[in-house]
Every structure is written in C-alpha cells, then in structure tokens.
Symmetry: C2
Subunit: 358 residues, 2 copies
C-alpha cells in the first residue's frame, strides 16, 4: 500500500496522490492510503464506507464546517505520472488529477492532520465516484446510510476554482431528443422516411441557440445548451428509421429542475424529448454570515461556478456551500491538466488562516 | 448436407433453398447442395471457387449468355423458415431470401439442369457475398482468378424485378462528410467548438435536397441522396470535437464515378468529404439485338433498375446486361419479404421459352 507522508508540503502531497491512479471505480489504493493517514489521530473520529472516508473533530464548537473532496479522476490519457513543468516562468504540476481535484484533496488532507484545534468543528470528507453517474457517487451512498454525518453550518468543496471562491453552481440536465422514420432500401429512398434528415431542425436550433446569462444573488451564471452525442443509422444501404441527439443543458440556479426541463421541451418543440439525467443547481448562498466571513478571510472575490458540483447537494440540504480549490476549472478533464504550485499554497494558507483565526 | 430435388417445381425448390439459411459468409451448405445438384450432368462443365459455382454448356453455339444469381442473403430477422401466405387472394412464399434472390436462383438452377440443348450456350453462375462489401463478392474473386468464365454476349441477373426486365442500374456512392471542433467540458461550452452543431447545414442540405430523375436511353432513373449514418460525441459532459455523416448517393448511369463524386462534393461544399465506396451504374444496354430479342421473348416492358446490381459488372465488361427475376425489389431486405408464386412460374416460363425457341 502506498504511504502518504503528511509532513511533506501540500505540493509534494499532491504529486504523491496524483501518482496513485484512482480513476472512478478504482479508488481503492488511494482510499486505503488516506484512511491509514488519518487512522490514528486523537483529534479525528474516522468513518469509512467503501472508498469514502469521513474524519471529523468533535470539539464542541458552536459551528461545524464540512470540507469535502472527491478522490476519483476521469480516465488517464497518457498524462500520468505527473511532471513538473514551467509555463511562462510559473512552476506547475502537470498530469491527470492535478486540477480535478487532487491538489484540493492534498490541501484538505494536510490540514485535517495538522489542525488539531480549529475554531470550528470540521467534518472532512473524501469520496469516490464523483466523475460518473450521480447514483454511484460516494456522497449519495453516505447520505443514505449516514445522513447524520452531513450535519453542518457551511460546506466547502475543494473543486478547482483558481483559488477563488466560486459560489453555487449551474444545474445539469441531459435529455434525448428523438426523431423516427421508416426504413427502406436506400436504392428506393422514396419508400422510406429518413430519420436523420428529420433531425436537421434539432441541429439547426442548437446551432442558433444563444445561451443566457442569468444573475442570481449578484453572481452571473452563464448557461449552455449543447449536443453531446448524436447517433443514427442501420447500414450503408438502409434509410434509417431512428436518430437521437443527446443534449446537455447547464442551467442557472434560478431555475428548478422542472423549469429547466420545460425550457428544453420548448426549444425542441415538435420533437420527442426525454430527460434522462437531472441535477438542480445551487444558489450561491453567500449571504450567510459564515460564508461572508470565509470570503473575507481567504481574501477572494466570489464568482459563479458554471459546472455542477456537489455544492448543490449541500445547498439542497439548506447549507450554504462554496467551491474553493486550486486549479483552473477549464483544465479539468483536459489532457493538459496542470495546476500552478502557487495556487496550492494559496488555498492551503487561506483555509488554514480561516480555520484557525481567533 | 441438404439435398435439392431438381424434379420439384421452381416454387418448391425456392422453398427448399430459402430454408437453407445462407447469410453472407455462411453460404457453405447451400453452395454444397448446388454443386452436388449440377455435379454429374453431362451437358454442364462445372467449376467451383469457394462458394461460387459456375456451370456452363459448351455446345458451340454462335452466342453465349451468362445467367447469374447470388446465393447469400442479408441477416435473418425472425423470418425463416418460410411460410406460405395468402395476400389479397394471391399465394405467396414469405421469408428471408424469397425476393432477394433465391426464387431467381431456384429458377436458374432448375433450367440449368433441364435445358440440355439450349439455343445459345449458357454460363450459369451462383455466387457468394453479394450483400456485403464489393471486394468480398464472389464475382470479384472470379473475375480475378478466371476472367475467361465471363465471356459472353449478354448477361441476365436474376435479381428481383417483379418479373419485368429492368435495364442497367443506378450507381452507388458512399461518402463521409465530416465536421471538426474543439473539445471542452460542457459546463464551459464557450471554451470549445461543437462539431455536432457544425453538422447542422449538412442535415439541412440533405433535408432540402430534391433528387433528380434522369432519362438514359429511354428509361428514367430516379436518384437519391441520403444520410445512412450519423455519429458524434465523446461523453455526456464533453463538447464533441468530431461528427461524421455517412451519405449514400444513388446516381443515374449517365454519370460516371468522378461526376458522381463531384456532385456530392458540390452539395457539401465547405465540408470535408471523403468518398469511401463507389460503384458506377450501368446503362440499360437494351439497344443490343440479343437484348431486344430477349425483351420481346419474355413479353416484358423494360424498366430502369434503381438499385445497384452486378449488371454493372457485366456492363463494364461491354456486355449488355439486364435484371430479370421474381419478386418486388422494394421488399428486398424487408422483414416481410415475400414473393408471389405466380411470378416464379412466369419467370421460369419466360426464360425457358427464350432459351429454347428455335
């Protein structure tokens, strides 16, 4: 089993953690290493469920903060092991997971071990299966088996936010827009009805669609509506009788799931639309006192989070939640994923300051 | 090994042959049965190459006619064994292969055995792999290994033509029309460039396309341009960087392959177009004396053939060639494929009369 040296810097710890591959469904080795690192610390009560590890202080503080990070990554694409690279004179760590989100996990893990006497009680959560279907997500499982562990007044997800505070998140909807037709031999196409040709207006509407910018509690959320998959066809000599376009709608947290579904149905009026995945967004929640205090302490400018993250889960539980982690979110899942070392240190310093200030 | 009873009627022989499944690449059992049926006949010289069987008379006649039929079918879809069905009071044989083209093969086989003294020399060909890629076609192989067997003055393909004479055939072109873009996380779609959205004009042009009717030597060929496949997409949260549309152009025999390719490139101007399969059509060739004599003898009205068939192969060798077989071509490859029994008898009678008239 790989051993994590918690006395090393957050940067070195990030490097070590990234070099333990943990693509979704294969988080075991990293989960074991994290569990071992926090196992024997007097200030932490540890609970493990599968590859999700929860470690919490029980100091009787007035407030409790949940700080969470997922330990899985999207598939490796020849971008491990990590490498140290220099970009415009700035040192970076390059490789799968450096941005999404093992730098965040490393910072959290280091602070979990070192902060024996924080000003608030802290529930640290490191969880599996965030990069795949929501029902596999370690937090989904934990919420079912140990909902009590989610008790708290404020939540911080270590998702990449360039070291800034990104509030709330857009919702995420996927739907299949279908056309149907009639098969025929393509030598006599007029006998059939081409379902791919019938999809022309679907692509035209997508190409013409202008996504909205929506202001919610002072932050401007940028939406998006995109085809993420298209498929149709039977054989090279057959007029196809079915075509489907999978669309992905990222919607501002001012819309609930029903409103978002309605919008997609309106855009594709006249077509068969089936919503196959729906996760509501989260309002920024930055009006909460603890959230405002946090933003001031880390000295960051709040921004909207575009991508859906598990902050929505905490938000749905009525807990203000923000994203705060090293790394440029636009490099998440990117083959050239890389994090500036400075951001790792900055996030560590910010979190440490806020969690220990008196 | 199944044994064919050549003393049975062409209808019964069709039933027997259809009930020996012979989907492309699995023609062995049927080929064995055919080879056995013609093996010991004094008037036929037999040659076998794989699952292609050639049987020919060598009577020193002034003219030689090639009569050919493929023995493979498209995949079975719960439509075997055959059934006798009545449609509007007319008896039919229902099931895979009844139309395309085992009724034609049965007629040919029966005549091959019975016509010991025809007025022309005859080269009978039963061949494999017609329903798949052209380079697998038994005639492609035979033309390479035994081009001498293709010697002849006129060719008749037993492809379904409703018992009429269908002259020539449309050409057949398949091409991939591609778009490209830039991948990005779909939560930040504006960072990427959606290749599926970029395919909107491709589908719009296909949907708006009006195929031409082209008169060639008195027959009107109906063209067709269709998408037969579309594919694009990486994952549910990724802006796709590639999309491809496979199009199938059925073009009148007045165009050669280069002109047909040029037409497709013009329709999709501005896009990357790659021609992946191209078979030129065949002009009807009905001005040849032997062809006119044949049309008169079988008492049929010549029509254009829309689908590409191996007549094009003979036409390319300078031999007039027609399609003449039982079955409605629009039911070829259809799950409800079925042939009127009367057409089987009519085609047998027509061919027999012409081949034996003095």
């Amino acid at each position: 089993m790989p051993v994590l040296d918690l006395s090393s810097s957050a940067v070195d710890l990030t490097r070590t953690i990234c070099d333990i591959p943990s693509v979704s469904d294969d988080e075991g080795a990293l989960a074991d290493a994290i569990a071992a690192a926090v196992a024997d610390l007097a200030h932490l009560e540890v609970y493990r469920d599968g590859d999700t590890i929860v470690a919490r202080t029980n100091l009787g503080r007035a407030k409790r903060v949940v700080i969470a990070g997922h330990i899985d990554t999207v598939p490796i694409n020849a971008n491990l092991p990590t490498r140290d690279v220099d970009i415009d004179g700035e040192p970076h760590l390059w490789g799968r997971g450096t941005v999404d989100m093992k730098a965040g996990v490393a910072v959290q893990l280091k602070l979990a071990v070192e902060l024996t006497d924080p000003r608030v009680d802290i529930t640290w959560m490191w969880y599996d299966h965030e990069e795949v279907a929501a029902d596999l997500n370690g937090l989904t499982r934990l919420a079912r088996t140990r909902p009590d562990l989610f008790a708290g007044d404020f939540a911080i997800l270590g998702e990449p936010s360039n070291g800034q505070v990104e509030g709330g998140c857009n919702g995420n909807l996927r739907a299949i827009v279908r056309t149907s037709g009639t098969r025929a031999h393509s030598a006599r196409a007029w006998v059939g009805d081409n379902a791919i040709h019938r999809a022309a207006p679907i692509l035209a509407r997508l190409a013409e669609y202008r996504p909205r910018d929506v202001e919610v509690e002072g932050l401007v959320y940028r939406e998006g509506l995109n085809a993420v998959r298209i498929a149709g066809g039977v054989a090279g000599n057959v007029i196809p009788d079915a075509c489907e376009v999978e669309v992905n709608y990222r919607f501002a947290p001012s819309l609930d799931g029903e409103q978002a579904s309605q919008h997609v149905r309106e855009v594709f009026a006249g077509f068969d639309v089936e919503v196959i995945d729906l996760a509501e967004g989260a309002r920024p929640g930055l009006d909460a006192a603890l959230a405002q205090e946090f933003v001031r302490a880390v000295g960051a400018e709040p921004r909207p989070k575009y991508g859906w993250t598990d902050v929505a889960r905490f938000s749905a539980m009525g807990m203000p939640a923000v994203n705060f982690g090293p790394g440029d979110p636009s490099l998440a899942h990117h083959d050239e994923e890389r994090v500036p070392l400075r951001q790792i240190d900055d996030v560590e310093r910010g979190l440490r300051a806020w969690l220990t200030q008196s």
